[in-house]
Symmetry: C2
Subunit: 180 residues, 2 copies
C-alpha cells in the first residue's frame, strides 16, 4: 500500500521523503501520518528495485573535505517504476477492495485504465454490499437480544454501507456513460 502510494505520488512529481510524507497524510483521511521508520526503508527498497532513483545530496562543491551523506534527497520515478506502478494499479486482487487498498487505488484513478477502474469500483461495491448484508442479517438474527449500544453501532454501520453502495453505484454509472 505504501509502495503504491509512493510510486503514485512520485509519478505526479519528484519529491523528497519529508514532503512525500506530508502529501501521504493528506492523501486519504487527512489524519495519521506515515512514520519515518517505515517511509525511508521503503524508499531504499524501491530504489534498490530500480523503480525510483535517489539523487545524492551534493557535497559542498569544490571543498575537498568529505561531507556527511545527509541532506535532501530527491526521489524520481524511473521508466521501470512507471511500468511497475501501472501493473500495481491493474492488480485487482481482494485487497483492492478493502478500505485502505481501495482508497489508494481511487487516489490514483486518473492514472488507471478505464476498464480497471470499473473493476475496482464494482469489486468494492460487492464488498460493501456483503458487509451491509452481513450486518443486516446479524441485526435481524439477534434482534431484540442486542444491547442498546451494539444496536446503535450496527445501525450506523448499516446506513454508512448503504450510502457507500449508492455512492459507488453513481460512480460506476458515470464511468460507464463517459468511458465505455
Amino acid at each position: 500500500m505504501l509502495e503504491i502510494a509512493i510510486l503514485g505520488l512520485l509519478n505526479e512529481s519528484p519529491m523528497h521523503g519529508y514532503e512525500l510524507r506530508k502529501r501521504l497524510s493528506t492523501l486519504l483521511g487527512g489524519l495519521r501520518a506515515i512514520s519515518y521508520g517505515s517511509l525511508y526503508p521503503t524508499l531504499r527498497r524501491l530504489s534498490e528495485a530500480g523503480w525510483i532513483t535517489e539523487e545524492e545530496p551534493l557535497d559542498p562543491a569544490a571543498a575537498g573535505v568529505a561531507r556527511s551523506r545527509r541532506g535532501k534527497r530527491v526521489y524520481r520515478l524511473t521508466a521501470e517504476g512507471k511500468e511497475h506502478l501501472s501493473e500495481l494499479l491493474a492488480e485487482v486482487g481482494p485487497d483492492a477492495f478493502e478500505d485502505e487498498g481501495f482508497g489508494a487505488r481511487l487516489a490514483f484513478f486518473a492514472q488507471t485504465r478505464a476498464d480497471i477502474r470499473l473493476k475496482v469500483l464494482e469489486g468494492r461495491r460487492r464488498r460493501v454490499e456483503e458487509q451491509r448484508d452481513g450486518l443486516r442479517s446479524a441485526m435481524t438474527r439477534t434482534g431484540e437480544r442486542l444491547d442498546r449500544y451494539t444496536r446503535q453501532l450496527h445501525e450506523h454501520g448499516l446506513e454508512s454501507s448503504d450510502r457507500e453502495v449508492r455512492w459507488l453505484t453513481e460512480l460506476i454509472e458515470q464511468e460507464r456513460t463517459h468511458y465505455s
Copy 2:
C-alpha cells in the same frame, strides 16, 4: 484490540476458540475474520497472564492410554481477567478513538462505566471532527486542482464524517440525559 475483544466476549459467556472467532467477526463490521495464527497465541498469552483459564480437553475417561492434547478447549474469564477487562475499557488513550479501538470499546459499552462511556464518545467525536476539518481544508486549499476521483473521494469522506459527528452528538446527548 484482540485482547479487549476476547476478554469482552468471554465476560458474556465461556467459549472455545473457534466460536470466539465467529463471534469476533460479526462483532464489528461483519467481514474480515481474525486468523487462527493470531487467535490461539493470544489465548495462550491471556491464559499465562491469569486472565482466562483454559479447560484441558479430557482424555477419554478411564482409558489409560495417553491421548492427543487436541480437542475443544473452553476458555473462561477469571476474576483477575474481569478486573483487567474493566481497566482496559477504562483506558481512554488515543487508540480508543481510532476506528478499531472505538468499535471495540463501543461493543462492550454495556460493561463500561457511564463516565468512561462519555469520555470515549467525546474523544471519538473530536477525532472525527479533526478528520472532517482536515478534509474540508484540503479541499478548499487545493480547490480546482483536484482530479475528479480524488474530489469524489474527499466529498464522500466529508459527508461520512459529518454524519458520524451527528450520530455521536446524538449518542452523547442520550448519555447525558439518561446517565448524568
